[in-house]
Structures are given as C-alpha cells and as structure tokens.
C-alpha cells in the first residue's frame, strides 16, 4: 500500500499542479506534495515496513500476462527514500529560482518523481519499461523548455540516445517474455526463465546497453555533460541524483538476476569499462572550467565505481554500491544546490570568472566545502563508507582494478580542491565583489544534506540493514 501511495501522491499532485497558475501557490503546493511523499516513506520504513506494504499487485493487462505489480525490497527502498528525500530539498533550494509558467514546470517535476518511483518499485517487466520511459518524457520537456541556449539539440540527443537503449531493452524483454513458462511479465516468472548461455550472452547486452546509457558508463556517457550543463539546475539535480540511479538499480533488480551467466561472462568487460571511465572522467573533470561540467564528469567517475562494484559479485562490493546509491545522491544534490545558488547570484558558472566567495559568503563556502569533501569520500562522510566497501569489493575481484581505480581518489581530490580554490578562495573580482550570503531557506536545505552526510558517515548501520536482503538475494543467485 505504501508502495502504491508513493507513486500516486506525486502523480496526482503533479497533475493538480498544472492547474495552479499562481507561482507562490504552486511552489508551496509541490513542496507540500514532496513532503507528503517523504512522510509516507519514512512512516513506511519506521512503522510499516512489512510484506503487505512492500508489495502491491493489481490487474492491468491480462492478455499480456502483465500486472500492475510493485515490490519494495532493499535496493528499491533505499532509492525510494532517496527520491522522496531529494525532492523537498530540490524545491526548497530552488525556491528563489524563477521559471516561466511555473505550474507546468512543477507539474512536470512531480510527474518525473512519479515515474522514478515507479521504476524503483515496478516488479513487472512491462510496467518497469513503462515507468522507465515515463520518467524520461517530463524530463525531456523540462530540459528543452527551461534549459540553456543549446538546450533543444542537446536534449533531443539525450532523449533519442536513451530511447534507443530502452527500445533495445524492450526487444530483450519481449524475447524473455516468450521464454517464460506461464507467458507472464511478472518479475518472478522472468527470474525463473531458463536460458542457455548463448541467449544470456546477447540478451545481457540488449539490457546492459540500455542501463549503461542511463548510468552512464564510459563510453556511453557523452550525452551527460551536455545535458547537465544545459538543463535547468533543478532538473539537473533530478537527473544526476536520481535518474542515473535508474540504470544502476535496473542492473541490481533486472540484469543480474536475469542473466547471471551473462554477468559472469562479461563482468571483466563491464568493470574494465567502468574503471577506465573513472580515470577518464576524472582526468576530464580536471580540465573543465564550467562547474556544472566538472560535477558532471566527477559524477561519471563515481557512477563508474558503482557500476563496477555491482558486478564484482561479492557482498562488500554490493553493499558498498547500494549504500553509495544514497550517498552519491545526497552529495551530488548538495553540489548542484551550491552551483544553483552561485549561478543564480552571479549568472555564471565559469570558475575562471569567480573567486573569493569565501569572504563574502562564508556560510555557503563552508557548506560547499563539507559537501565537496563528502564528494571526495573523506572519512566520516557518507561517501567514505560506500567507497571503502566498493574498493574492497573491487580489490577482492581483482587487485589491479582496485589499484587503477584508486587513482581516481587522488584525481578527485585534485579537481575538487581546484574547484573550491578557484570559486571560493583567492581575492574577489568584479563579478563577486558584492556577493551576498545565502538565505536561511537555502542554508537549511544545505544543512539537512550536511547532517545526512555525517549521520550516514558515522552510523551507516541502518542502511546496511535495509539493503541486506537485496544483497543476499543476488549472492544467492550466484551460488
């Protein structure tokens, strides 16, 4: 029931938002809706985390053997939590941002949330595909309408790129469907399909390419920096904090359980690509002048680590990856908020044009420094736990992957500190001369993130407990 509510609230709220023309009111409304989602989720986790709340099934397309089935297991729970946690913060931190025809904007944002939650919860192949696309379409409009000057071309590229991927996945899904004994799309019967190794080999790629584009894994990543750069920052937050998790999550819930043999066959390829991606993206991040692009590349690097860890097929790596789902979401969200604040105030994201903010906006700088340090996975921040476990898992898989991938730790320090220095340290210039510090509203939203960062960094136990079931499920498969 909780699962259903999670999807319904933003869905209805989003549709309703279309009819609230007044800016203030629609902002409040969507903020309230987001909070409602958060409330439901936290209630579910704290008091009602039991099977009949985690599962929901309803009739949908009997002819196709597809039902409206939702399942909230460890991995999806953590991501649902992330989603509902992120949205209020996004709305709060972009409270001051102005958007033309806000009711559409916020409506679409909420619809995106519905789509995302659907993806994280769907326990039926076709339903999953449905939400997979539905999450994309509002984003398409958000980016193309409210984005930067190159938005249209960039967005259509992003859309078609991901669309190709998902269509390939659809073909694979269809093929699987016809292999099921009871001609059903339900997760269980798909899991039970017996496939030969050859079948798994090519089906694996049909699915993986879709997910790899979404994550994105090197070399399918080129849409991502442009899109992040062009999209309005509020949307970029959704994209990089939540949407990339779709791909990772899909790997956990669909790819690995469906094609264990395929995974074992290609784990080296995937991990190899991911590790290359980590280094490659980190080196590129060092070259960027636009903060958004920098974060985009750094996020590619982090995603690379996660995708690698998902394929190492040992508990440490999986646990790390899953806790990192949450941590990365929170941290990168914090980054985007800071960027949003900077861009809104100075109208530029070029590091070369900024500088000396630390004198003018100490609060902002302190919060950024903390978030940035979480981004470089400093101990006692949330990211450290995840990265430690992931690297450990990677190490268990193959020492050299860990060694090479480890270089990204150093590189991340280099580019992150470079960013901090160029933006916040040094002397002010004409752009930043009369900068003002951030309002309490933004301060609180950042503070929430900082708190989350430390709480998870110091006491990650609950999260481990949450994702454990998924991890064991996956390890069972490989037994």
């Amino acid at each position: 029931m909780i699962a259903l509510l999670l999807i319904l609230i933003p869905l209805i709220g989003g549709v309703a938002a279309f009819f609230i023309k007044d800016e203030k009111r629609v902002k409040t409304w969507s903020f309230v809706v987001a909070l409602a989602g958060l409330a439901i989720m936290s209630f579910g986790l704290l008091f009602a985390y039991n099977p009949d709340n985690k599962v929901f099934v309803a009739e949908w397309l009997p002819q196709l053997g597809s039902t409206f089935a939702l399942l909230m297991d460890g991995a999806s729970a953590i991501l649902c939590l992330l989603t509902v946690f992120t949205y209020p913060i996004i709305f709060a931190s972009t409270w001051k941002s102005k958007y033309a025809s806000p009711h559409i904007f916020y409506g679409l944002m909420l619809l995106t949330q519905a789509g995302l939650l659907g993806v994280f919860l769907a326990a039926d192949g076709l339903l999953f595909y449905f939400f997979w696309e539905l999450a994309l379409i509002p984003v398409y409009f958000l980016c193309s309408k409210w984005g930067g000057e190159k938005r249209i071309a960039v967005t259509i590229k992003f859309f078609i790129y991901t669309f190709i991927g998902s269509l390939l996945m659809l073909v694979g899904l269809l093929y699987l469907y016809y292999q099921t004994p009871d001609a059903s799309f339900s997760m269980q019967s798909l899991y039970e399909v017996k496939l030969t190794v050859q079948q798994q080999a090519w089906l694996f790629w049909l699915f993986f390419i879709a997910f790899a584009i979404k994550m994105p894994v090197f070399p399918f990543h080129t849409w991502q920096p442009d899109t992040y750069e062009q999209a309005p920052t509020a949307v970029t937050m959704v994209l990089s904090a939540l949407m990339v998790k779709m791909g990772l999550f899909a790997v956990v819930r669909w790819l690995i359980p469906l094609f264990p043999a395929g995974v074992l066959m290609f784990d080296n390829v995937v991990i190899g690509l991911s590790v290359i991606g980590m280094i490659y993206a980190s080196i590129l991040a060092m070259q960027q002048d636009d903060i958004k692009r920098l974060i985009a590349y750094s996020s590619i690097a982090h995603i690379g680590l996660m995708s690698a860890a998902l394929f190492v097929n040992n508990e440490s790596g999986l646990q790390g990856a899953m806790i990192q789902f949450f941590s990365h979401g929170v941290n990168v969200l914090g980054m985007w908020i800071v960027i949003e604040l900077i861009e809104r105030q100075f109208g530029t994201r070029k590091m070369s044009e900024l500088g000396g903010l630390a004198q003018k906006a100490p609060a902002l700088s302190i919060l950024l420094v903390i978030v940035a340090l979480a981004n470089v996975a400093l101990p006692l921040t949330n990211a450290f736990i995840g990265e430690f476990l992931m690297f450990n898992g990677l190490f268990k898989f193959n020492i050299w992957y860990a060694a090479v991938g480890g270089l990204s730790i150093i590189l991340s320090a280099i580019y992150t500190l470079r960013m901090i220095q160029k933006v916040f340290y040094g002397n002010t210039n004409e752009v930043t001369a009369n900068a003002v510090d951030i309002s309490w509203f933004e301060k609180t939203s950042l503070a929430v993130i900082v708190v989350a960062i430390f709480v998870m960094g110091v006491y990650p136990k609950p999260v481990f407990g949450l994702v454990q079931e998924t991890v064991t499920m996956i390890l069972e498969i490989f037994k």
Partner: protein
Amino acid sequence: MNLILISALWGVVMMFSGLFIKNRSAAKTIAIVGALVLLVGNLFDLGGKMIISSNFNGMLLYDRFALLFLTVLVLALLIYFLLSGKDIAAVGNHPYEYFALIFFIMSGVGLVALFNNLLILFLGIEIISIPLYILTGADKRNLKSNEAALKYFLMGAFSTGIMLMGIAFLYGATGSFQVDRLNLLDGDNFRIFLIIGIVMIMIAMAFKVSAAPFHFWTPDVYDGAPTVFTSFMATIVKASVFIGFLNLFANGFGGMMDTWKPSIAIIVALTLFIGNVTAVYQQSVKRMLAYSSIAQAGFMLFAVFAINDMSKLGLLLYAAAYCLATIGIFAVLIKMKDYTIDGFNGLAKKEPLVALVLTICLFSLAGIPLTAGFFAKYFVLAAAVKTGTYLWLVIFAVLMAAVSVYYYFRVIQAMYFKEGNGQDIETTPVFKGLLVTVAALIILLGLFPSLLLNWLTLY
C-alpha cells in the same frame, strides 16, 4: 455485409441529394448521418445480424476480426467526417460527389476486409482505387493535384496489371479463386505458378500499402492530393488494404510461409529504412507525414510478416492508433496555411490545447508509452519476436523507431520551444472538443489496450 450494402446505398443517396439539395453544408451532415448508420449496421454485423447473411457460396468470409477491424475503420471515418467534413465540402464544386465517392470507397473497404475470393479482392481494391484517383485530382485547378492524380492513376493501373498477373498464375496453379483453396495445389508440378502468383500479388499489395521499393507514388500523391483526402487515404484506406493483405496471406498462403517470408522481411526492412530516413530531412509537415506513413506501413507489415494471433491483435490496435493520430494531426494541418515545420513555431503559445493534442498524436506515432502507438508497435513487434526468427529485423525496427522520434519531435520542438507566434487557425469549440476526444482515446488505448482487444474474444 451490412456495411457494404449501406455504404454503397448511402453513396447513391449522397449523389442524388447532391442533385436536389443546393446547400453545400448539408452534405457534411448527411455524410455524418451516413457514417452513423454505417456504424450501426456494422455493429449489427458484429452481432451476426445481417440484411443478407449469405456468403455467396464462399466469396465472403465474415470473421470476427475483420468485422471488428471494420468497426474501427468506420469509427475512424466518423471522426474524420466530424473533424474535417467541412473541409471536404470545401475542396471543389462537388461536395456531395466527394462524399459519395468516399462512401463507395467504404464499400470497397468492406469487400477487401471480408473477401474470400480473389475476384472480390480485385474488385474491392479497384473500387477503392478508382474513386481515389478522382479524389486525388479533385482540386482541378491545382496542377499538383492533377499531377498527383495522373501519377497515382498510371502507377495504380500498372500495379493492377501486376496483381492480375499474379491472380492468373494462382488460378493456373490451383484452378480456383477461393482464398482458402489456394493452399491445395492441383498437382505439385504447378508449384512454380503458385510461387510466381504469390510474389506478384505480394508486390501488388505492397504497392497499395506503399511499402518500399513500391512506395514511390506515396509521397507525391499524398503531397499533391487535397490534404483532407490525403488524411483519408493515409489512414482508413491504407489500413483496409492491410487487413486484405493480412487475410490473404494468413488464409491463403499461411501454409507456405518459407516461400515469401524472406521477401516480406526485406520489404519491411527497406520500408522502415527509406520511410524513416527520408522523413528526417523533410521540411513540409505534410510530406513528412507522407514518409512517416510509409514508415508506419513498415511496422504494420510486421503483422503480415509474422502471421499469428499476436499479429491480428497488433494490426487491429495499430490501425486504431495510427488512424486516430494521423486523422488528428491532419485535421489541424488542414486548417493551417503554412505546412512547413517552421509554420508550427510558437503554436503552443497561441493554441495550447491544439498543440497538446498534436503532441499526444505525435507521441502516439512515435510509439511513446502511455499512448496507443506504444502498444500498437509493441504488439506487432511482439508478434515478430514470437516467431523466434529474424530478431535482427526487430532490432533494426526499433532503431528506426528511434530515428522516427527525431522527426516527430521536430514538430513538437517547433510548437513548444522555438520562438515565433503561431499562425492562426480558425477553430470552433466543437472542433477542439473533438480533438480532445481523439487525444483521450489515444491515451485510453495507451493505458488499457484491452478495451479494444477484448472485443475480439467477446461473445
């Protein structure tokens, strides 16, 4: 049978009312009434209550699928009349005749859907084609319209020749024109006749559904013909030919798929490729839609390619989705002066509702989930996948679908994201209401295709 009779009769009615009623606008009303009557009659068909229930010793075959398909087409016709009836009357000096011709075509559609004898198929197709030549040329002063008509006529006649040659060879092989008897050969030594026959008929049908490499007439004719009639041709007529195609190959040649499956596969691939890739560069929306209709034909051909239970569902759903979306888009397009894509710039600001409906229609054509188009594509692809072979074709098809997104979205981009103040479209509330209904139907089918499909299994 009701449908064939009524439409023929109503055609006559229209003719004569044209003699007696001078008021042009009445034509639309009469036609709409006719469409309604047609619908009722067809529903009686579905219920098995016919004026003449004989199948003329096996010349017709009333199977539920075909009848339901006809229902969809008649509904499409009704919507078409409602949305564009005024524009039909406005094409030239003979409003009543145009409607009459359309009704005659509907009787041909009925024949093509229900035939069980090659003669009926032949006659049906001719009844569809000959009035279409006229309608194409209906805008007599317009050279483009003339040209389109002549091209269409010449090539159509040529394809008729091909088809007849095919039928002749089939007869030579089997000594019968009955579709269900085409499988039993009169001695195996005639096998070669059968093959020649199949190939030639396949080509003739491919021509009619504008599949590559026999599609060349389509862009020119669709572009040249008066836009209202383009809409009609591209939707109802094309769909009807498809069901003829499907029935013929399912009932007639189902037994010897291996002889024609490769060829159809190639046709599908070519059609998808040429249709989609050529559409990418078009500047005129009308012509782009012509190419897109080729591309869509490529998808519908999957139903013929993979003959199984799924393909019938698929074709049915596809026809519905495709007709709805295309009619909707054309209905708006007709009302515009400037057909170029730039002509759509900023339409969303001027006519938000119309823009929204157009977007939904385009989504449906592109096969985005939540619209009927998705399930349409889903079913036909599923049918192909179910055969277990030719998976490369399916993958190629989805890649092409991705290409199609590009050119469909160009219109959306123009409407929503490009600068410009959209050209003015004279729209009535009724018109808008109808558009919304179309959009609603598309979404509804996109959520619950069973609403339509259940009818196949119902009583």
